[in-house]
Symmetry: none
Subunit: 220 residues, 4 copies
């Protein structure tokens, strides 16, 4: 299993020193931002995120010069963790459909909805770090679905993009509800959706299977 974002510096490199407290602050800000963004939407005041992270607001600006950058880093952060969940499900769950379900529910709990900003028009899909992380998630989730389709337990007319979109939509916080845990039906409706994915297909789907790359198209 490869963690993408935690790129280790080459041994003997000249980068001065990462300074422990700065790293810890960065982590704390990312974690706080993920919660705030998922729970309260993209409009949370920066000061609130800073307070939740326990740092001054200017510290937040030092690490993430603007909102776009912060969101971008949160996406990377969550994507990395979700990728790990998919790898775990594949490795530990022998039944193909069970693996898919395990992944889906775990990803919802891991706030996969935080990946939604990727779909935004102004999201930078060319960023190298994102491309790498994205490819990793794409690879493992395609493996997850292919396994199910080859085993004949997953309908053939769906692709990873379908899963990712619906997963994100269904696990997004309902407006006005304070946090994800306060929406106990997420797992219910997710399970209904997963039942719809199970083979044999029960109806014809409009449109074509959505791949991961489709999500990067500006023109959806």
């Amino acid at each position: 299993m490869t963690r993408v974002t935690a790129a280790a510096p080459a041994p003997g490199c000249q980068v001065p020193k990462p300074r422990a407290d700065a790293v810890r602050n960065r982590e704390r800000i990312l974690a706080a931002a993920r919660e705030m963004l998922v729970e309260h939407g993209a409009h949370v005041p920066f000061d609130e995120i800073a307070r939740r992270a326990g740092v001054g607001n200017a510290t937040l600006y030092r690490h993430f010069p603007d909102r776009v950058t912060l969101v971008h880093q949160v996406v990377l952060y969550v994507m990395d963790r979700v990728t790990a969940l998919a790898e775990d499900a594949l490795a530990e769950e022998p039944d193909a459909f069970a693996a898919l379900c395990r992944f889906a529910h775990a990803a919802a709990d891991e706030r996969i909805g935080a990946l939604c900003p990727m779909l935004s028009d102004d999201f930078d899909h060319e960023d190298p770090e994102l491309l790498a992380a994205s490819a990793a998630l794409n690879e493992v989730s395609e493996r997850l679905m292919a396994t199910g389709q080859q085993a004949g337990v997953l309908r053939a007319d769906v692709a990873v993009g379908d899963l990712m979109i619906a997963l994100s939509q269904l696990s997004r916080p309902l407006p006005g509800t304070a946090c994800l845990d306060a929406a106990p039906f997420v797992h219910r409706h997710l399970q209904l959706f997963l039942d719809g994915l199970r083979a044999p297909a029960r109806s014809e789907l409009p449109g074509a299977p959505v791949t991961f790359d489709d999500l990067k198209q500006k023109t959806m």
Copy 2:
């Protein structure tokens, strides 16, 4: 079929004069607000709504003294139209599951996601107009589901609340996508969800069936 929100004044009442342009302005504001709220979330500046509606901002305030009121009226506006869609589906579609599907897809197109603010903590569920509209929608949609369950084409462990929530979530515009039409996979994923609703049930669902009334609970 009863339209709830267009309450006609009692005959012989003394309400001065409805003034044609005021009525037209109210309609334009409601339509504009529905689009803006669904597309850009609850944070759209009032001035933007006013501009989209083609009226001055103060006119908007004259019709809707505050954001809460405006949102409330938009909910009523959409709820009324969605109710009509359910009635039409029931009346014109002989097959029970086909009726459900027709309703779901039509409601998505009608921006049923604009009902989400109902789930917000600060939404006033005691308002008489809302109670009436709500009861009407509840009645017809329960009839829609009951028909399907009695016909054995709809799994028995789901209720209207499940449908409404998931429908809203799946049809909400993805962040950054300007309008619903720009998200062509909404109907794909909605259909997958509908396939999950079809009997026989393929897996056990966590939690209990969600009724319409469950959605009014402040503590979700």
Copy 3:
């Protein structure tokens, strides 16, 4: 004499209504901004300008969305007044060199230094209003200098740009001094410069005569 910026609306035009108080506020802001910008440089807090003008800060933003716009309008405002001074000097002062001196000292008192931002790299020289005002000032000041040169009282190797630049430089507030009136030597040094302009030329000048258009070149 033609005032350029105070463009009168065509009779019978459809522009709604200028609203007296808004016009008065705009005037007050422009006057206040001219003083603050000339006295304290381009970094004066917007709130200070608003306070000096006696309006709320947001009112300032309504009239001038950003600092660039405000500065631009101040330039137009001052340019118009300086143009009028040149016209007056030409019309009322029979002696050519006396007219030039009268104009120079009056322009210094009128804060011609406020035109300095025109020389900045990010100043928009393409704006139609500015082009018109600029042409008017150019025309009258060239007439002013040509008169002197034809009368043989003004050295021939200088052009309007030379006058404008030096005039602006010499009348700019010295850093740290509160206001122009507190720099009583402005008129002394201006007169020394004017003496240097008088014919016959006492030394050869480096470079070429600077025209008005030269000042618009980004590459100075």
Copy 4:
């Protein structure tokens, strides 16, 4: 010729160690600060000066505890160099007016405008180092002017303060122009001003000759 600011420690003193890199850093900061202050005014962020000097911001603070101190040292730095230029002109240029011109143009190139902060209300004129450097510059520049006036080539109604002020004003970078070299007309207008200084006087000057000491008066 006495260099004032490079005060050598008394022989036998106990100052620990000058540390070569600290001295070099101090030089680099002073040079960078002179450029930034002259080019972008007194408002340049400290961090920018530090970046331009190639040191960390805290290093800047170690050498110069606050902005006032930094500006003060820059003034001393430039004053010392300008004094040297005046001495050179006097020593090497036999013609009195030529010496004045040579000095003026050289001082402009040496950024004499960096002395302007001396005129600021909050500048400390009592500092011993400054008093010494100031006296030295005053002495040599008075000698420069007296020579010219005794030779009858420089008008009698001007004093060193007039020269210093006008020189500073005319050589200050125009707003938006990045560096002095980008303003090719500085020497043109300076020469015009010098022509105005030449005897015989062509007009009467308002005000009285400005001495060096006049510039120290808080109330100008």
